[in-house]
């Protein structure tokens, strides 16, 4: 259920509450066989990125192998974050039948080096959530602490 934290290259730690983690898992399972996606907001304290609110967005691709977030929903989410005093920390998407690691397409389409890219794998019985920073198509894993 919890992310493996081996081979971490950065100091960033994502802090996620257990019920938030569960809500991501439930949303992703509810969208099977398609990939699910969303945004994570909260605040940043030193190296800690504390998630406060999760936005569940529509995967416009409606595909089990690809996702594109709905830009209209993205704008609405970002404006809502600002209203709450939160910042955009990252996004998440699910891999219904592959491991929790950035695919070549994930890396190619990761345009913001400041974001955390969380990937939830549903390939095994227990979901696996991992977080990555992606810069110049190179990914490095961040730690996740689920409280």
């Amino acid at each position: 259920m919890i992310s493996p934290n081996a081979n971490l290259k950065g100091d960033i730690m994502i802090i996620l509450k257990k019920d938030q983690f569960q809500s991501i898992v439930e949303y992703a399972r509810g969208n099977l066989p398609e990939e699910a996606c969303g945004l994570l907001s909260g605040y940043i304290k030193n190296e800690k990125r504390i998630i406060e609110k999760i936005y569940f967005l529509t995967n416009l691709d409606h595909s089990p192998e690809h996702f594109s977030m709905d830009a209209k929903e993205q704008f609405a989410a970002v404006k809502n974050m600002r209203k709450h005093g939160y910042v955009l920390i990252g996004n998440f998407h699910s891999h219904p039948s592959s491991p929790s690691r950035p695919s070549e397409e994930d890396k190619r389409l990761a345009f913001d080096p400041l974001m955390s890219y969380l990937i939830l794998s549903l390939a095994e019985k227990d979901p696996i959530l991992r977080s990555f920073k992606i810069e110049n198509k190179i990914s490095s894993e961040e730690s996740i602490n689920i409280l």
Binding site: F67, K79, R82
Partner: protein, 69 residues
């Protein structure tokens, strides 16, 4: 002129196009940016001509997508 970009108020000496604003505000990979001015989407084909006016609220964000393959 004064405008708001992604929630932050900024002052520019002269009017700029959307394309110029993306450069001024250091948008990375502007070709993958989606823009709204005053809650209205701006067509990518209009980026070079569409002027940002005094008092406008501009939002832009990066395309977010990927895949599992």
């Amino acid at each position: 002129m004064k405008i708001t970009v992604n929630g932050e108020k900024i002052t520019l000496e002269k009017a700029v196009t959307v394309e110029e604003l993306l450069v001024v505000t250091h948008a990375e990979t502007p070709e993958y940016v989606t823009v709204q001015i005053n809650d209205e989407f701006v067509d990518r084909s209009d980026f070079t001509d569409k002027l940002v006016n005094d008092g406008d609220t501009v939002e832009y964000l990066y395309f977010m997508g990927g895949g599992s393959l």
